[in-house]
Symmetry: C2
Subunit: 498 residues, 2 copies
């Protein structure tokens, strides 16, 4: 244990780093990038060290100015000690050796992740171990419960708290705002938290931000939900299952999303949000996250089982996911689709999918059927509800979205006539991202043709929108080097000639 005086420095490392004089570090047997426990009053955090012989005086510790929020001032005495070896390391090793983890072990692991006690190397090894050996049912259930415990939980006075989640991988597919509007209009309560895009051109939170604010604290959310039966907010501003976010960060670079981890991730967030009924949308198809029907069915089965163990009624919908859904891809373009559908127009696939999902939620709670969902949408009641939610979230329902589109635009036309055989999910996502989505709200792709439709040479297939010229160029370069639309011969019945 060493006592050091706080010395504020202006740096933003992105990971917890403090700076020590090299002599103080050496005294504790510490080398650069070793970890220490930093204690002030009763708060202890783990941080990496960076050493220097001139920038920090002997007996001092370099901290970010942000540490003032703990009441630390220039010269405040801070205690440090070398970080103890986290117990989790043996648990990770066990998982690497394919030994099923016990409840207590999972609890310790999740606690250590929550307290930042694991390094990135250790987190990388952990997600690799889960990827290789999978999670058993029991491990998945215990992980979900532990993740719920280490985070805030919402409780509601109302009865029918419902929620939905899409496994993702399909561009467009912005059913959530429409489904939320329908089921809330039908009297269900749906406090919906969504994510921002990580690898896709827009997450529901990115799209909702076009309409209104999406960052609220729990008190504000309660207020919005009590008023409108729903909310459509960004989950990242809440401390709901924060361990899940830390695991997602480690899974992201190698796209490791083992089934058990996906289930724990989704259901821990739903449980923390106080949901009783959850609908999982599993898009199926080439380019979607799940491409084989057996895998989709198995995933659905596991979701339902784990849900049951957590006292949630979970239903799953395996849906068509072999191409983009809706016409717009990118925040503003998706917002345009949503408003059109709520106004009784808009792309048919997105409209029908939204109605079907809403219907399943009405059915599972005994509140109606597809007919009812369709009636709520067609009567304008869903639009009314949606506008209520927007207003409650400080938005203006009368925005002109056309004006918000990127000013740089290029149309791509068919270079042959025929039937659209395939639209590549991956290519569309890449193009929209290169064009600037989701950061540039007005950037993205707008599709004129869908799978199965006939197109004539020279007809517009899709538009690319960008807010910056060089981003449009990057997106168009991508258009030229990958097959976005696959157009087959006009009559496409012959498979093979022998």
């Amino acid at each position: 244990m060493l006592k050091l005086k706080a010395q504020f420095m202006d740096f933003e490392p992105g990971i917890p780093i403090v700076k020590l004089n090299v002599e103080d570090a050496t005294d504790l047997g510490l080398r650069p990038h070793d970890r220490i426990e930093v204690t002030y009053k009763k708060t202890t955090k783990t941080a990496y060290i960076e050493t220097t012989s001139t920038m920090i005086r002997l007996g001092h510790i370099g901290l970010r100015k942000e540490s003032r929020r703990y009441g630390i001032k220039e010269g405040t005495v801070i205690r440090i000690r070398p970080a103890r070896r986290p117990e989790s390391l043996d648990i990770i090793k066990k998982k690497l050796d394919d030994i099923e983890l016990k409840k207590e072990e999972i609890d310790k692991l999740i606690r250590d992740i929550d307290q930042n006690r694991l390094t990135d190397i250790e987190l990388g090894a952990l997600v690799a171990a889960i990827y290789v050996h999978g999670f058993s049912e029991r491990e998945t259930i215990n992980t979900t419960k532990a993740m719920v415990k280490h985070g805030e939980q919402m409780a509601w006075d109302k009865k029918c708290i419902v929620d939905k989640h899409s496994i993702g991988g399909v561009p467009g597919n912005r059913t959530t705002p429409i489904v939320v509007a329908i089921v809330a209009a039908a009297g269900l309560t749906i406090p919906k938290t969504s994510s921002r895009a990580i690898t896709s051109p827009a997450g529901t939170a990115d799209t909702m931000e076009v309409f209104c604010d999406v960052s609220f604290n729990i008190r504000q959310i309660k207020h919005i939900v009590n008023k409108t039966n729903a909310c459509l907010i960004w989950g990242g501003s809440l401390d709901i299952a924060p361990v899940d976010d830390k695991l997602l960060r480690a899974e992201y670079p190698l796209s490791l999303d083992p089934e058990g981890q996906v289930i724990a991730s989704v259901l821990s967030k739903k449980k923390s949000a106080g949901s009783k009924y959850v609908l999982i949308d599993i898009p199926l198809g080439d380019g979607a996250k799940v491409s084989k029907i057996e895998k989709a069915r198995n995933l659905a089965k596991r979701f339902k089982l784990v849900g049951r163990k957590l006292d949630m009624h979970v239903e799953c919908a395996i849906t068509k996911g072999d191409g983009p859904i809706g016409r717009g891809i990118g925040p503003v373009l998706e917002a345009i689709d949503i408003v059109e559908i709520l106004e009784g127009k808009g792309p048919k696939d997105l409209r029908e999918k939204s109605i079907e999902l809403a219907a399943l939620m009405l059915k599972m709670t005994g509140h109606g059927d597809e007919e009812k969902a369709r009636r709520i949408l067609d009567s304008g009641r869903a639009l009314k509800k949606f506008n209520e939610i927007i207003v409650a979230q400080n938005g203006d329902p009368k925005k002109d979205f056309q004006k918000m589109l990127g000013r740089y635009k290029e149309s791509i036309c068919a270079d042959t006539s025929g039937t659209i055989e395939q639209i590549s999910n991956t290519a569309i996502s890449k193009i929209a991202r290169l064009a600037g989505a989701p950061k540039d709200k007005g950037a993205g792709v707008y599709l004129y043709f869908k799978k199965g439709q006939k197109v004539n040479r020279g007809e517009k297939l899709f538009d690319v929108y960008a807010e910056r010229k060089h981003k449009l160029k990057n997106a168009l370069d991508m258009v030229n080097c990958c097959r976005v639309y696959i157009i087959g011969p006009k009559e496409n019945m012959l498979i093979e000639e022998i």
Copy 2:
């Protein structure tokens, strides 16, 4: 691409970090801890960024002074760009899926590690994948070759370039300086690079530092070896198989040392040092790295095979490793053992093991046998050679080591009479480290009794030395809470009474 001027700063982060002004970072769309490619002339390295608005001026990049070795000066123009997704990610994913990696894939992987293009999360997943699925013979060979390629290589005019390596895990065991002295005196060339301790109370480099300097560049090493046939230096100051060090860092927290990786690690260093004949010491026993004879034999077989593919003659010695070897544990205490043995005295186990290892090296090169090794040691020729090496490395052979011992000392006595059944490698290592070794050169443990010897109650078992009072206390606390010596009944022939 952004051009920035170098601004040197005094910091040692332990991982590659450069500092940017927050405005320059934002211009490139970068956030703290994002990675950038830093290019100067034809060299590109990847580094994490830390941002600041005051410590780095706009248009500048904060670099460590060590970057001078690339010819960079204050104000030199450096180009940076956001790091691209490394190709290796797909290769790591493949290994996670248990697909054997091809030569080209291993080459890319090692190149990306060399250029710091992988994050810690990615490295953690990689070592986990290698741990779970192992390395095939072909993968081990290709990894070794690739690691040699990405680093400096030494070449020698002399013929018989020999080397040795111990798999480790046994405290004391400081055979290297003695073996080097014997075989160099016999006319073999042995440019020995060693490591510092990572988890043990002393590495060979830490112990040699008691005698002389251990950090030299390649030109200086050539000079020392040409003059004395040998050197005993720290490998860490050289750029020999640097990828290996990066992998070791990722393996260390979870003690993942998959066999294939251990072989590639050791042999890439030996090959880079220009060795033709290599002796591997595999200590066997409880508490050593290898505890089962079958595993030791299999490891030996693989070492020899991979060595052959790299044009090296590799022999392996499986040696007794179920307890500390020599009396001293800690840099100065080990130095004392070494000098005593070279003077014809000293602990018998360390003496005999050194002679046997030296003999194996003489035999494999056709330069003699055990008789010859013993003669060289007993005649004082080894001592003469050792002193030559020390002088060539700027040392003084007439140092008084007793004066260098820690001034705080405590003796631990037997609390019962009997035969020493076991001395715990792990406990001895922990005690010596807590006492201050290897940083405090004079700290450590000195053993009076070895396994199999009889001891009477009250006789001194071992001394603990420390340079600082509180460290002695920490070490003694550990003595009290773990079983260092296991003393059995005087006559210990009865195993069980039925």
